[in-house]
């Protein structure tokens, strides 16, 4: 026989022996102790049952936890309604008349919970095993050690095996020989898990010098890795906040930056986009395609906010070009009307916008670093919006017209650009992008009539900081402000960070009134 065949035969034999297990009964003594013993004895019995790795042990433990276990004389039964099973063999037996309940206290119940999780380690489903390993990583009883060793030997998924090895190392650290403990310390040192750090801290002042030194070395290694996790997490939080600011400010970069219209209702256009998402979600509520409602919500939010924006431009803003302060007041009035309209239509309370299933959860990058999917999606979305806006402005005829009108309205008009219509479309575009921002924000925050008010100061800060009329400036400003905010937040708390950033911008504007990217030449005084 070739070695490969031999291995396969051995595996088959192992499989057969695993299948053969259920044929004989459970450890009778252990079940007896579980039913009749004192508290500590019963805990030990749970460990003994689990160590066998028998799926029927799970049934017995579950019955005990749920109060279905009863005794009659020496017999231990699992009683469900009128049906009784023998707890050793799980065969049907007649229901005796004289029975007594077996009571499980909270401590026992906790141990059973862990044990049931541990038994799942042997489940054929990798996802169940992974979940079980995660439960054990949160703290496992020493009694589980046998089972865990067995599970490690069988496990083929590297992630799960690594988690289990950590759990085992934790156990060895507490109650093993010196060699085992040193090995465990080395294993723990290889992880980047905050709980391994806690374990190591316990032995960092151990009486044994060799162990103490090894533990301190491993601790340093872990701390280095944890610090990286924190730094990357902070950077990601900065990018994430930056992309939200960017989305909120991009629309404004067109309406204010390119057209010079101070639109105080910009926040409300964001809010309308969020409500459009909510309405679209309602259409998909009970359908099989609920997870894909965002595909419909994104264009809907863009179109609805864009149309509202175009209507505003035609009815109000058009008459106020060249009078920025009046525009500011009129658009503020518009924002009040829009807020109250939403209150009348949808109520003053926040509405519920759910994440589709694929956006919940996150990617585990390091042991202490999870990047949530919805944040990743928003960063990607902001980048996509930015790129499409850039393409629209630079590669299309519409964009050419818009830039032309911005640079020299009279000349553009002379060569036949319909400036009034371009204004309407440009304002609609800026408003539509605000709607897209609303759609994105609905995935990470509350959606209510006041949603936009929270973003208006921020988005103006981004545009002003970046330099009016500069797309690149807007992007850079959004990212810088996002980073600065998160960095300060980790030192001083969210509110002080926000204040510091606002004060910084106020001071910055004094030094460079034209923002990061200054326009040069005549346009400055215009």
């Amino acid at each position: 026989m070739s070695p490969g065949r031999m291995a396969r035969a051995a595996a088959a034999a192992l499989f057969l022996s695993a299948c053969a297990l259920p044929v004989h009964a459970l450890d009778r003594a252990a079940v007896q102790r579980l039913a009749f013993g004192e508290s500590d004895e019963r805990l030990a019995a749970i460990g003994a049952l689990v160590a066998e790795g028998d799926p029927r042990a799970a049934e017995v433990l579950r019955a005990l936890a749920e109060g279905e276990m009863q005794t009659s004389g020496k017999a231990v039964l699992i009683v469900k309604g009128e049906q009784a099973l023998d707890a050793f063999t799980l065969q049907d037996v007649p229901l005796p008349a004289e029975r007594e309940d077996v009571v499980a206290n909270n401590r026992l119940r906790g141990a059973i919970g862990d044990a049931l999780a541990a038994l799942k380690l042997l489940s054929p489903e990798a996802s169940e095993r992974a979940a079980a390993a995660k439960v054990l990583a949160g703290g496992a009883d020493a009694g589980m050690r046998g089972l865990i060793e067995k599970a490690i030997a069988q496990e083929k998924e590297a992630d799960i095996r690594a988690t289990l090895e950590m759990v085992l190392a934790g156990m060895q650290l507490k109650g093993g020989s010196k060699e085992e403990r040193l090995a465990a310390i080395r294993t723990l040192g290889g992880s980047g898990n905050p709980s391994s750090k806690t374990l190591l801290l316990e032995v960092a002042n151990d009486a044994d010098e060799e162990i103490r030194l090894a533990a301190q070395r491993s601790l340093r290694a872990i701390e280095g890795r944890l610090a990286w996790g924190e730094r990357i997490g902070l950077a990601f939080a900065g990018v994430s906040l930056g992309s939200i600011l960017l989305l909120a400010a991009l629309g404004l970069a067109i309406t204010y930056g390119l057209m010079g219209v101070i639109n105080m209702a910009h926040g409300e256009l964001i809010m309308i986009g969020a409500y459009a998402t909510y309405v679209v979600q309602g259409f998909f509520r009970n359908s099989a395609f609920f997870d894909w409602y965002l595909l419909a919500a994104v264009p809907a939010a863009f179109v609805v906010s864009g149309l509202v924006g175009m209507a505003l431009e035609r009815s109000v803003i058009r008459w106020l070009y060249g009078r920025p302060l009046e525009t500011l007041l009129a658009t503020w009035g518009i924002s009040l009307v829009l807020i109250q309209t939403m209150r009348t239509l949808f109520g003053a309370q926040n509405v519920q916008v759910e994440n589709p299933a694929f956006m919940s959860g996150g990617v585990q990058l390091l042991a202490n670093l999870v990047l949530p999917w919805n944040r990743i999606m928003i960063v990607a979305f902001a980048a996509a919006v930015l790129v499409s806006m850039w393409l629209l402005l630079t590669k299309t005829r519409m964009g050419l017209h818009m830039r032309g009108v911005t640079q020299n309205r009279a000349m553009a008009s002379c060569v036949g650009v319909p400036t009034a219509r371009v204004d309407t479309w440009a304002f609609g575009l800026g408003s539509g992008i605000a709607g897209l921002a609303g759609c994105a924000l609905s995935q990470v925050g509350n959606v209510g009539p006041d949603l936009g008010q929270g973003y208006i100061v921020d988005s103006f800060m981004v545009v002003v900081f970046g330099g009016v009329g500069q797309l690149a400036g807007t992007v850079l400003a959004a990212l810088v402000l996002g980073f600065a905010n998160k960095l300060l937040e980790s030192w001083s708390g969210a509110v002080l960070a926000k204040i510091a950033v606002l004060v910084f911008i106020i001071v910055f504007i004094q030094r460079r009134p034209q923002g990061l990217f200054a326009l040069k030449g005549r346009a400055v005084e215009a």
Partner: protein, 369 residues
Amino acid sequence: MSAVPAMVKGARKPGMLPIGSIRFWLAAAAAFVACVLFPVLNLWVPAEHPLHLSSFWVTLAGKIMCYAIVAVALDLVWGYAGILSLGHGLFFALGGYAMGMHLMRQIGREGQYQSELPDFMVFLDWKELPWHWWMTDSFLWSLALVILVPGVLAFVFGYFAFRSRVKGVYFSIITQALTFAAMLLFFRNATGFGGNNGFTDFKRILGFSVTAPETRMVLFLVTALTLLGVLLLSHRIVKSKFGRVLAAIRDAEQRVMFCGYDTVHYKVAIFTLSAVLCGIAGALYVPQVGIINPGEMSPANSIEMAIWVAVGGRGTLIGAVLGAGLVNGAKSYFTVAFPEYWLYFLGAIFILVTLFLPKGVLSLARRGA
């Protein structure tokens, strides 16, 4: 723009109303209503009499007069010097907080926790007053704070902003950011101004109970006289050479600079004066209304102040007073009668006034006359 109506031609000292003119009689009538009619109807006409004026109306009128002072102050910077500040709510609130600190100290041991410290400090488990509460038990020092805090802040902020030639919408936006930042700061409990709830439950002012009708009437009269004083002062200012330079800055700042004026000084001076007037208005407002909290610093409040001026007619002092009265009167009516329509109404005012009445309701009256 011609803020000087035709009827006041002729050589006379600036800032004086000619006896016998319509405006003199209007001012006299307003003074009579405030100083004679209100006290008599409120204090000496018995409560069951149909002509009795309840304390509610006295407080409301007092409150609106405080707003009118703010409107005049804002009109000085916006209507005359062309600087739209969206942060005047901050100066108003700072004056209010300075007065509020004194009123909190006056509560003494009558608070819920019977402590020398204000209740919210006991609640936060503070053992002594923070440094910025120094001397706030002295009424005079509190009055000084009412003037100094908004004044110094406006001076410093204005000096740097105007020196860097921040103007127009930029200035509006950074003043808005300033009041927004201050609001966030005051919302924190650790800042030492009662956080979210601000100051309330005042007991007495200068030893007199704040709820007594007589005290309220005195506060009302003080407010009325202050408003009158502010109007006279502002009238003097806008008719003086200083005021004319301000108007010139509004209309063509570069030309004024080329004529050799340092516009920064003019702008800083009027901005600081305006902030001080707002602080005084806030200090009068707090004992009458009985509460001050960081909500007063919200950007929305400051923008609303601009609309008072716009509604009345900017560039005219009496227009600012009129606008503050009209908008706030409407607000008091709407928020009771149809609360859900108030924002529609306010929003519509913002839109319609800017589109159709750029010079305010006073221009209607002028057109009619």
